[in-house]
Structure formats: C-alpha cells, structure tokens
Symmetry: C2
Subunit: 159 residues, 2 copies
C-alpha cells in the first residue's frame, strides 16, 4: 500500500528531473540498476505512478484564464451533465462533491470575455440549476506532490 524511503527518494528524483533514465536513477539512489528498474516497475504497475504525461501549460496554448465553477445539479440529471461536460474541451477537470448534487469543475478560456462563452456552453444543458464561478487570479501553490511523497515515505518508515 504505502511506499518506503527508497520509493520516496525515487519519486522525488523523478519529480525533479523527469527525463533521467533508470541507469542514472540507480546511480543517484546508490542501488543496482535492476533494483531501480524493479521499484519503478512496481510503482508504475501498482498505480502509484499514473504516467509521465507532459504537463502542458494551457496559457501557452492560448488559454491564460483559469476558473473554477461550482454547479448545482438537478436530482437524477448527474449522468447527462457529466457526459455533456466531458465534451467541452475547456473543461479540464470535473469532480462530484458532497452536497446536494454539486459538481466542481476547472475551466480555462482565452480571455475573461471568452470565459463567458465557455460558461454559457457549460451551463447550456438541462439539469444545471445554478452555477457560480470563481476566476483564478494567482496560483501560489501549483499542483505538487513531493511534500506528500516525503510525508508518506516518512510515515511508512516508522512501521
């Protein structure tokens, strides 16, 4: 279930320099190549590492505006709304949350004006009762995982 210190250091190294290969990884970890290979395989096939997809910056694609929208869904319309939102490219992420039929989605747009178009498209379906949007101004903590990995590796060490 958890990860040990070696796994933790491996993940940290990968997070810092994702392009390094297994050989270099093994050198820095101070273990044999086969070991690094085996650990990496285990983390990957075990689901701890979902993948190494490129982290694309929407701003560089021409979508500098990010927003979060909270949607209130009419009872029983969840499936339709989910399917609808999945077809909107500007919807980067969608979660269903606690609360009466609530969803939270992350949107991007070409401009604040364009955001209106995106929102109109998002709510353009029966089943969404109400939507409230918060535009992102700053991102003081970008999506990160290393601190949590450290924590997890630390905790499992005590066991």
């Amino acid at each position: 279930m958890g990860i040990d210190r070696l796994d933790g250091r491996l993940l940290e190294l990968l997070a810092e320099e994702p392009r390094i290969g297994v050989l270099e990884l093994s050198r820095r970890l101070g273990v044999a190549r086969g070991t690094a290979q085996a650990r990496l395989d285990r983390l990957t096939s075990g689901g701890a590492i979902r993948g190494f997809g490129p982290q694309v910056d929407p701003a560089a694609l021409g979508y500098p505006v990010t927003a979060f929208a909270t949607l209130e869904i009419r009872q029983g319309q969840g499936a339709e709304v989910r399917a609808h939102l999945a077809t909107v490219p500007e919807v980067l992420e969608l979660h269903t949350t606690t609360g009466s039929g609530d969803m939270l989605c992350r949107l991007v747009a070409r401009s604040n004006a364009d955001l209106q178009r995106v929102i109109d498209r998002v709510v353009g379906i029966e089943g969404i009762v109400r939507a409230s949007t918060a535009i992102v101004m700053e991102n003081p903590v970008p999506l990160r995982i290393v601190p949590l990995v450290r924590q997890a590796a630390q905790d499992s060490a005590g066991q």
Copy 2:
C-alpha cells in the same frame, strides 16, 4: 504563441505514450528526427510543456480522500496564509480567486476522519475568517489536456 498541427499531434502522442523517445516520435509523425527534436525543444523551452513529472496517485500513497476548501481571508493577511498553506503537505494546490480575499485549495487526507485533522491544520492560522469544504466523491473527468490541445491546434490551423 499558439501551436500548429504538428505540435498538436506531438503533444497528443506524448500524452498517450509518454515514454516514447524522440526517434519513435519522429517516426510516428512522419518527419525527420531533427524536426521532432526541434519541436519538442521549442515546446519545452517555450513553456508549453512544463515538464514530464510523474503523475503520482495520492490514493496509492495512502491518501484516498480528496477535498476542495474555499477559504475566506482577512484583508491583508493573504501572504501569511499562502506561506502557511505552502507548509502543509496535504495541500496539493492553492489558488487565489476573485471575490473578497478568497482562496481555493485542493486537499488530500488518509480518511474522512483524517480530513478533519488536515482542515484543522489548514485553518489553524490567524487570517482565515471562514472555510467551507467539499469532499470529492467521484472524478468523472480527471485532469486532461488533450481535448484542449486538439482545439488549440485546430484553431491555429485556420489562421
């Protein structure tokens, strides 16, 4: 600024099979290796590709519970709160949004009970007036970028 069709296809290929190398990439794109190399370099150094960090599943680390917390911040306390939240490993992401001193952060926890501990730690600082938390139940659309890449490549083609 934008990306052309070749860039778009390159990003799609990378998103589907992140471990393929430049040579294989060039083969699938039907271009010379140098071209694929140059495009990739340009996308990377230009900021369109932030990196290839491993996508770690918090659940595999023992943190299966995800939540979003909306924080209302007292005027002028923003910096302190940001600094505080940055020290909490369970805070995976933090945004400041429109609205009077609002922030939105993504949290993970070991369990629903553990979430209480995390929230207590998050709000354990002067400057947070109010916090409301939504626990994630499902994730119908996991963080994705390919549809947007397609859109962006499509749009730039017309120009």
